[in-house]
C-alpha cells in the first residue's frame, strides 16, 4: 500500500517534538482567534507568516494550517455562547446553537460541534490524502495555456461564491490583478508602477495587503459602533451527549462532511458556503422543521461538520495545483514561497516528507482540538470577556512588528495603513475584499502563464480554445459567471450570505 507508507512517512515527520509543539501552538492560536470575534485566521496567519520564516518549511506549514482549521473549532464556541459568529463560517451555528445554550444545553451544543468537527476533519483529511496524488499527476500534464485557463476559472468561481454584486467582485479581481503587476517585470526587468521607489521593485508586500484589508479594515468597521459583548452563559456543565443525541447527530454529521468536503474544493470561500448549504439541507430533510431555529441539535451538527470538512479539503487545489482557493490559502502559498518552495504538483514528489507531514499533522491537530475545546471550555469563555478596546491595539501592534520584520522595510508598514484605509472604503461601498486578494496573488502567475502560452503558440490566441483542457476550464468559468448573474440565484446568494467577514 502506497498510501500507508506515505502516511507512515507523514507521521514520522509530524511526530517530532518541534513539530508537535508548533502544531499545538497553531491550533491553540487558531482556537483563540476563532473564539474572539473581530479577528480571524486570515489576519492572524498574515501576522505570523514573517515569524515562521526562521522555521523549517514543514514546521511553518504545520503551524499555519493549524491556525486555519483551529479557527473553525473556536468560532463555534462564540456562536453558541454569545450568539455572535466568532468566524464567518459559524454564523449558522449561532442560530440553533445559541437557542440550545439558552435552554441550558450549551454543553451538548459544544460537544456536538467539537465531535462533529473532529469526525469531519478526520474524514476530509483522508479524502485529501487519497485524492491529492492522482490529481497532482494530472496537473503535471498541464501546459501553460491550461494553467492560464485554470487560474481564470479559479478567479471566476470565487466571484460566484462571494456575496453582493457580481460586477463589483469582477472589478475587485481586476484591481487585485493590477496591483499584482506592481514591481519589476519578470521577463524584461522594467520596473512597473514603482513611482521611483526602490522599495516597490519587489512588488507590494502581500502580507501588508492582507493584514490591511482583513485586519485593519475590520478594526475600522468594528469602531463604527462599539458594543460590549454579553456572555450569556458563564459556566458550561454537562459536556456529555446522551444516546439519543448521538442518534440525532449521526446522519447530519455524515451529510455535513460530504457537503463540506465537496464544496471545500471550490475556490472562493467554500467553508462559509458549505455550512449554509448543510444547514438548509438538514432543515429540508428534518421530520420536524419547526424545531429549527429553536435549538435543533441537527442544526449545529451539520454545519459544524461541513465547515471543518471544507477547511481540510480546501488544501486540495493548493497542494495539487498550487492554486489557492481563498485568502487563507493564498497566505499559505505565501508561506511556501517564503520557504523557497513553489507550491504545486511537484511538491508531492519532490518533498514527500513535507506533503505527508502536513497531512498527518492535520489528524494530530484535530485530536488536539477536541481536547482543547471540550475540557478547557471554561478558559475560552474567560477569553470572551476581554474587551475589544484592549484587543485591537494588540492586533495593530502585532501586525506592524510582523510585517516590519520580513524585510526590515518601513514601506511594508506604511502599506498596511494604505491598504487598510482603501480596503475599508471599498468594503463600506459594498465591495468584497477576498476577490481582490485572490487576484493579487494569482496575478503574477496568470501573467507568466499567459505570456508563456502565447510564445509557445507563436502568438495565436486561439490556443486557449483549441486545447481540450483549457477550453473546458474556460467554458466552466463562463457558466459560473452566467449562473451567478441569473436573478433567481442572485436572490439565493443574498439570503445565504447574511453574515460574512
Amino acid at each position: 500500500m502506497d498510501l500507508l507508507s506515505h502516511l507512515a512517512l507523514g507521521f514520522e515527520t509530524a511526530f517530532t517534538v518541534t513539530n508537535l509543539l508548533w502544531c499545538f501552538v497553531g491550533v491553540l492560536l487558531g482556537t483563540l482567534v476563532g473564539v474572539l470575534p473581530g479577528i480571524g485566521p486570515t489576519a492572524t496567519i498574515a501576522m505570523l507568516l514573517p515569524i515562521t520564516f526562521t522555521f523549517a518549511p514543514v514546521t511553518a506549514l504545520i503551524m499555519l494550517s493549524g491556525i486555519y482549521y483551529g479557527a473553525q473549532y473556536g468560532g463555534s464556541t462564540t456562536a453558541i455562547l454569545i450568539n455572535l459568529p466568532g468566524e464567518s463560517s459559524s454564523a449558522v451555528t449561532a442560530i440553533d446553537g445559541y437557542q440550545m445554550a439558552r435552554k441550558g444545553r450549551a454543553g451538548a451544543a459544544l460537544a456536538t460541534a467539537a465531535l462533529g468537527s473532529f469526525f469531519a476533519g478526520s474524514v476530509a483529511t483522508l479524502i485529501l490524502a487519497i485524492a491529492a496524488p492522482p490529481l497532482a499527476r494530472v496537473a503535471l500534464n498541464f501546459g501553460a495555456a491550461d494553467y492560464f485557463a485554470l487560474l481564470v476559472l479559479g478567479l471566476l468561481v470565487s466571484i460566484s461564491l462571494a456575496h453582493g454584486s457580481v460586477l463589483k467582485a469582477l472589478a475587485m479581481i481586476a484591481l487585485g490583478l493590477l496591483l499584482g503587476t506592481v514591481g519589476q517585470d519578470v521577463t524584461s526587468g522594467t520596473p512597473r508602477f514603482t513611482l521611483g521607489f526602490r522599495e516597490l521593485y519587489g512588488g507590494i508586500n502581500f502580507v501588508s495587503l492582507a493584514v490591511g484589508v482583513f485586519g485593519v479594515a475590520e478594526i475600522f468597521r468594528n469602531l463604527e459602533n462599539e458594543r460590549t459583548r454579553e456572555v450569556g452563559v458563564s459556566r458550561v456543565t454537562n459536556l456529555w451527549l446522551t444516546r439519543a443525541d448521538f442518534r440525532a447527530i449521526a446522519a447530519p454529521v455524515l451529510r455535513g462532511t460530504a457537503v463540506g468536503s465537496l464544496l471545500g474544493i471550490l475556490p472562493g470561500g467554500g467553508h462559509v458556503l458549505s455550512s449554509f448549504a448543510s444547514y438548509s439541507m438538514e432543515k429540508n430533510l428534518a421530520a420536524d422543521k419547526s424545531a429549527f431555529g429553536h435549538g435543533a441539535i441537527q442544526g449545529v451538527a451539520g454545519p459544524e461538520s461541513a465547515n471543518n470538512a471544507a477547511a481540510q479539503t480546501s488544501f486540495i487545489p493548493l497542494l495539487t495545483l498550487g492554486i489557492p482557493a481563498h485568502p487563507v490559502m493564498a497566505l499559505i502559498v505565501g508561506a511556501f514561497i517564503l520557504q523557497g518552495i513553489t507550491p504545486g504538483p511537484n511538491v508531492i514528489n519532490d518533498q514527500p516528507a513535507l506533503f505527508w507531514g502536513i497531512i498527518a499533522s492535520m489528524w494530530i491537530g484535530n485530536t488536539m482540538l477536541v481536547i482543547l475545546n471540550l475540557p478547557l471550555i471554561g478558559l475560552w469563555v474567560k477569553m470572551l470577556t476581554i474587551p475589544y478596546r484592549v484587543l485591537f491595539p494588540a492586533i495593530v501592534i502585532f501586525a506592524s512588528i510582523g510585517c516590519y520584520s520580513i524585510n526590515n522595510n518601513p514601506f511594508d508598514v506604511y502599506a498596511i495603513a494604505v491598504s487598510g484605509v482603501v480596503g475599508y472604503a471599498l468594503i463600506r461601498l459594498g465591495c468584497e475584499p477576498a476577490p481582490l486578494l485572490l487576484g493579487f496573488v494569482l496575478g503574477p502567475l496568470l501573467e507568466e502563464n499567459l505570456r508563456r502560452a502565447m510564445i509557445l503558440s507563436r502568438g495565436d490566441p486561439l490556443v486557449f480554445f483549441q486545447r481540450p483542457i483549457s477550453a473546458t476550464l474556460l467554458a466552466l468559468g463562463l457558466i459560473c459567471i452566467v449562473l451567478a448573474a441569473l436573478p433567481s440565484i442572485r436572490r439565493k446568494r443574498d439570503t445565504v450570505f447574511v453574515e460574512e467577514d
Partner: protein, 160 residues
C-alpha cells in the same frame, strides 16, 4: 447605536468612480512601458489590458448604480479611529528602528488605543504598558526580532 443612511445609488457610483480613477492612473502610467506583440508581450501589455478592463467595469458599476434604488443603514465612519491607527502605523514604520521595540510599541499602542472612544488616556497608557511587556517577551526574548529593545535614539541608554 447611531447610524447614518447610505443610499445604494451613492454607494455604487462612488465605488465605480474609485475603480475608474485607479484604472485611469494605472493606464496612464502603463503607456510608458513597452507594449510588445502578442507573440512576445512587453512589460506594458498586461497592465494596460487590466487597466482597460478595470475602467470598463468601473464605468458599468457607475452606470448601473445610477439606476439603483433603496438605502441601507450603516454605522458612522470612525474618522478618529482611522486617523489614529494610520498615525500609529506611520510612526512605527518611520521610527521603529531608531526608537527600538519597547518604546515604539508603547507609543504606537497608546495612540492606537485612543482610537476607541471607550479608552481613556489612563487605560490607553495601561494597555500600552502591558503590550510593551508582552511584545518584548514574545518578539525579543522568544523570537529574537532584529529591532533593538531600546533604539539608538536614546543614546547611552540603548539596549540591543
Amino acid at each position: 447605536m447611531s447610524t447614518v443612511v447610505q443610499t445604494h445609488r451613492s454607494r455604487d457610483v462612488l465605488a465605480g468612480l474609485i475603480f475608474l480613477a485607479i484604472a485611469i492612473a494605472f493606464g496612464w502610467e502603463a503607456t510608458n512601458y513597452e507594449l510588445g506583440r502578442a507573440l512576445r508581450m512587453g512589460a506594458g501589455f498586461i497592465p494596460l489590458t487590466l487597466s482597460a478592463l478595470l475602467g470598463i467595469l468601473g464605468a458599468i458599476v457607475v452606470a448601473a448604480g445610477l439606476r439603483r434604488e433603496g438605502e441601507t443603514e450603516v454605522g458612522p465612519v470612525p474618522w478618529r479611529g482611522i486617523l489614529l491607527v494610520s498615525i500609529a502605523l506611520i510612526l512605527f514604520g518611520a521610527y521603529g528602528r531608531s526608537l527600538g521595540l519597547v518604546p515604539v510599541v508603547f507609543l504606537c499602542s497608546a495612540v492606537t488605543a485612543l482610537a476607541s472612544a471607550r479608552n481613556t488616556v489612563l487605560s490607553a497608557l495601561a494597555i500600552a504598558a502591558a503590550l510593551s511587556a508582552l511584545c518584548w517577551l514574545v518578539f525579543k526574548l522568544g523570537l529574537g526580532v532584529s529591532l533593538p529593545t531600546v533604539g539608538p535614539l536614546f543614546g547611552p541608554l540603548q539596549v540591543f
